[in-house]
Amino acid sequence: MNSKPIKVLLVEDNPADAVLMRETLAESHYGEFSVTVVSRLDTAIQRLTEEPFDIVLLDLGLPDSQGLDTLKRLRKQSRAIPLVVLTGLSDEAMGVQALQNGAQDYLVKGETAGNLMARAVRYAIERKNAEEAFLASEQRLALTVDAVQVGIWSFDIATEVITWSDQVARLFAVDPLTFDGKRETLFQCIHPDDREVVRNRINAARTSGKDYTSEYRIIWPDGSLHWIESRGRVMLDDNKRPVRIMGTVVEITQRKLAEEAMRSRDAELAHLNRVNTMGQMASGLAHELNQPLSAILNYASVCLAQAESDKGSRSTILMAVQEIMNETRRAGAIISRMRSFVRKQRPKNEVVDINQLVTESLSILEFELRHQKIRPKIKLAEGLPGVLADPVQIEQVLVNLIYNALEAMSEKTPPGNMLRLETRRREDGGSVEISVIDSGCGVSEETMARLFEPFYTTKSKGLGMGLNISRSIVEGHGGRLSATPNPEGGMRFSFTLAIAEGATP
């Protein structure tokens, strides 16, 4: 117990009551009290400015002030001092009002036994301290919230009612006075395309008890779009059942715009790189197209000869025409594969089969492989779950890496050349790793350090963008692209991609 006496300012105009209370406090087991008695409110206010007191015991009926007004006037002068109101026997209602006006407690005079009174005094002090601490923390929070313009919301799981801070209303452009607290009202503000995702995320958090995050767009009444980042945490009751989700919302429109600008710049660069790659492969492309073209010419000439001859065979003509159609389709497929590779398109995000992308990338480079007489060794892990990615961009990374590998090996004689492509699920379980391994010339230490720099190249033809773009594509997908020299010569390029949520193997 505190050894220092508790300094009490007793404001009481009835001397008998004052003596009684002083004695009651002195006799209590709740520590030592040092009581100063004044009989007027203005004296009390004066004394409070002169020396510190721990608590004021205030009779509301004084010569210079009556009723609740006494309390209000004192509070106005001294906001932080713990205060206990003394009321008469018939005045219990007044006590309750006093509590609502900033008193920590009230005591009915003549009713209060010694220990009870002392305890009430002590508790009032404690209560006021806790209140002050809470207020300070509230203020700090409010200051923070204001500074970062965070909106705070709370979603009651049982009633489905939402309560929120004014900032949320500002972000959602909703009038806080008319907001009915219903989830659906809030959802009406969200862009129709995003509602489903937000709903699912909230439900997932509710079921799993895990933190909730989501980014979505809201549409203001003026039609403008605003990006919101919302985070939430599930609050559990004593039985570990979720009772409410509390969280924050911030506007991230600027960030989104910046990201979008960055993405579109990246997309431009990536497109340039694809066109460039395709340019480098143009002769191979011509070769590839000449195959079906010569087959078509051959079949057509057979048709012609058969049609011109008296002994022409109908079945031969039919067969040849069928083959012409097949070969034409094959030529068309080559062209559309190339076109889709160089086409400009908005980045997509879908669940893709990485093994299939590896196979398709190899088919784009098929003629280059044949030219260099390389039969790649392909080791694709079976049953890999899908990854969330833009298929065109990831294909581009693969084509870049494989093309680099082929170039690195072009100086060497064919028999020693080895190109390996591997996919595997990483030990962390949440991502897959794709590796392109060559037995080529490798890179010097100096080049190694600058490998991913833009416009750095050791090739006469290259633009020096391939690896830089590949890395930004991979990192844009939340993965990592790394380069390591092979112990037995050549290089190994590996990149990771996260497995799509809920992707089944």
Partner: protein, 205 residues
């Protein structure tokens, strides 16, 4: 019935291979197809006349290398090179290795057919010539030293009388030897005998 000539097609592209086969078969040529140079080397039978239609760019052993191997092994079969992407150095190399022609894909099937026919014809001629050479060599191997001596003098354009004096024998003996020589070499006359000696590589004395 066994064909008298065969056209071998070596191309890794199934479309090209199959369509070429159809073109050539429609022109009544016997065809065998191979998907790779390795396959051809395993299965080839070059005892029958014919030609090879050979793609240049193939995985594994490519067209140039196959051509080189055939020539090193002494095969003279005519080779027509086809390529979807022929650069000048490759064209020069293949011609130096004795390719009869080089066609850029896509080529006119008629043009190929003509070239193939000529190549097959050439192959038949080569084989006939080889056969004749072998027969002649065999016949000349039966000649006696004296007959061989006589042959060199005949080819050099000496008359019987001159030969008799050269060899210090009677004209009658020269006439006898000469009759044997004609019979053994199946030569029709002195000019034919000269032709046979040239084929056999016998130089006049």
């Amino acid at each position: 019935m066994n064909p008298t000539t065969i056209v071998h097609i070596v191309d890794d592209d199934p479309g090209v291979r199959k369509s070429l086969q159809m073109v050539l078969e429609s022109a009544s040529l016997a065809v065998k197809v191979y998907e790779s140079a390795e396959r051809f080397l395993e299965d080839m039978d070059l005892s029958i006349s014919g030609c090879i239609v050979l793609d240049l760019r193939m995985p594994g052993i490519d067209g140039i290398e196959l051509l080189q191997r055939l020539r090193t092994a002494g095969h003279e079969i005519p080779v027509i090179v086809i390529s979807a992407h022929a650069d000048v150095p490759t064209a020069v190399r293949s011609m130096k290795l004795g390719a009869v022609d080089l066609l850029q894909k896509p080529f006119e099937p008629k043009a190929l057919l003509e070239i193939v026919r000529r190549a097959v014809q050439k192959s038949v001629e080569i084989n006939q010539k080889r056969a004749e050479e072998n027969a002649i060599r065999k016949r000349l191997a039966d000649l006696t030293t004296r007959e061989l001596e006589l042959l060199r003098l005949v080819v050099a354009g000496r008359s019987n009388k001159q030969i008799a004096s050269d060899l210090n024998i009677s004209i009658k003996t020269v006439a006898n030897h000469r009759a044997n020589l004609m019979a053994k070499t199946h030569a029709l006359n002195a000019a034919d005998l000269t032709r046979i000696s040239t084929i056999a590589g016998i130089r006049p004395q």
